[in-house]
Symmetry: C2
Subunit: 332 residues, 2 copies
DNA sequence: CTGAAAGCGCTAACAC
DNA sequence: GTGTTAGCGCTTTCAG
């Protein structure tokens, strides 16, 4: 076991108070005392005990990231930004996967860990806004995505509807007339897909074009592939697909090319999220690029501000996005 | 603030000892007492304080995953398996990124967090085996990858050399004669790339074929793209590239197709890691598929066993892999 | 089966 | 500037 404060104090011939001062660097300590204490600290390899600090001070230095799955590229990239930026707050990120399951989300939100951490950043899929606000007194929660929770919780989102409309307009502008959407998730309360669908429909309506929507179970490549297969097997007249995530789009793209379609010649394919895979796909994937570092920054800022003032008015931060046009939606 | 043991005890008219017994479920408690206490617990929404438990019991229930970057698909998939399986041990995963930097690896290995957690699972890139064994008394460390640390640390690895040789043999068997390797990292002490290079060279030597090796700085798609560009710009005679990661391969593939090469017609492309992107690439990527769930399982088992017996002989677990042949290395 | 109390390592209020 | 000490919430030894 490593040394504790008292042992350092004894060996340096000072009180624990003084050692504590040296370690935390706050209060004034005579230079020579400080040096002597520091020497003993180095000698003994003393490290402050985080559990004791946590118990005493109430801060753990831990922030939980609660999301459907860390292996999804979008969340992986986001987690990377969060972990990097969390350092500026001396926070360490803790990852908890829900699989998008409501019961599991509930469990993580109310469980023991939720008290251990200084805050939670969560991307809810299964829980409704109402569910989210009903939780025991615990660490503050920042929501990622479209779950607004009636303005009762801090919340970082994109303007999903506008983004989807922008992308749909782009497809129309490049000459597409039969644009299918892949990615609705009618079984989820998660509003993200619904917002994107709304933008898609609005853009089509403005041009008098018909909508065609294919629901999916999850947002993996396999689901995009299945949806595309379904579309082609049913002989649908379609010259573009707008997928609500890049992963779906990559699955759809794979099937389309496999079936001998030329992309973008016969079919335009677009996604959403701007994951790195899309940039290197063949052809490269047109997508909506959310400012991911900004999402991370906003989430951490919300948490820090909330910790500083538990009664501040909940914020809704809308992070910018950008339409990223690449080869997959070139002219026919 | 939420209730504590004493408050529950007072309200239930019992001692803290009894409440503690009810909560932990270990010792015997009279059924009716238990029920009464449980009712108060529910009433007050009591949750045990993890910091106090940690301070008292010395276990935090936290395991640190220390890796170059969580946004890399390989590590993302691995982290997903680890997070899932950690639950069986009542462990929560904490993510720390090093960027592959030695100083940062050192810092995380010796820092405060390293004492907070029950154990560390690390994929070292910058630190040498010798560096890794030289650390203050701290939580046990399990190594991922080729860093053997002289048999002094628990260690989960692939048979990288055999895997690379298998893949190279496969390329030779399908008629390739000018097989370049992309992915050496001469600036890193990390032995993984070196082992893969050894397997590649061995296989080529056995067939009397020449080796051609392109070093890379990092293992991102952009590095694979740069290496491929370099190869093509120098007019190298090459009919296959073996990339030491799928990410490199996807970058190389992108450039090759962009330059008008047919894959696999003119050029075969193969990777390593079996990340999901590779399965849906166009053409789908031939690769070495490590058993990732098994890696996660082995790492957690090592940690648990080490915690049970700090003096057990360090283990080296070799996890199986499989050659996954897909379209990108079809016949010319 | 239950109660009293020590103590995990630290911080900070209170002394001097 | 430095020493002394209470107490954060819990588990567990020792009594009963």
């Amino acid at each position: 076991m490593s040394a504790n404060l008292r042992q350092v104090a004894e060996r340096a011939g000072v009180s624990v108070r003084t050692v504590s001062n040296v370690v935390s660097g706050f209060a004034l300590v005579a230079p020579e005392t400080r040096e002597r204490v520091q020497r003993v600290i180095d000698e003994l390899g003393y490290r402050p005990n985080a559990a004791a600090r946590h118990l005493r001070g109430g801060r753990s230095g831990l922030v939980a990231l609660v999301l459907p799955e860390i292996s999804s590229p979008y969340f992986g990239e986001l987690a990377g930004h969060l972990a990097d930026q969390a350092e500026a707050y001396a926070w360490t990120l803790l990852v908890q996967q829900t699989g998008g399951d409501a019961a599991r989300e509930r469990e993580l939100l109310d469980g023991v860990r939720a008290q251990t951490v200084d805050g939670l950043i969560m991307s809810p899929w299964g829980l409704s806004p109402a569910d989210l606000t009903r939780r025991p007194d615990s660490a503050p929660l920042v929501l990622l995505g479209e779950q607004d929770a009636g303005g009762l919780l801090d919340h970082v989102a994109l303007d999903n509807e506008t983004a989807a409309a922008d992308l749909t307009h782009h497809l129309i502008k490049t000459g597409r007339r039969h644009i299918a959407a892949i990615g609705l998730q009618p079984h989820l309360v998660n509003g993200t897909a619904a917002r994107r669908a709304a933008g898609y429909r609005r853009a089509l309506a403005e041009s008098g074009l018909p909508a065609r929507e294919i629901p999916v179970d999850r947002l993996h490549r396999a689901d995009g592939a299945a949806a595309m297969t379904h579309l082609l097997d049913n002989g649908a007249e379609v010259d573009a697909v707008f997928c609500f995530s890049d992963q779906l789009a990559l699955g759809a793209l794979h099937v389309a090319l496999d079936r001998g379609l030329r992309v973008p010649g016969d079919l335009a394919v677009a996604g959403f999220d701007d994951i790195e895979d899309g940039r290197y796909a063949n052809p490269a994937l047109t997508t909506i690029a959310p400012d991911k570092p900004a999402i991370a920054r906003a989430a951490l800022t919300c948490l820090a501000d909330r910790l500083a003032d538990r009664n501040a008015h909940p914020r809704r931060v809308v992070v910018p996005h950008r339409l990223e046009v690449r080869a997959s939606t070139g002219r026919r």
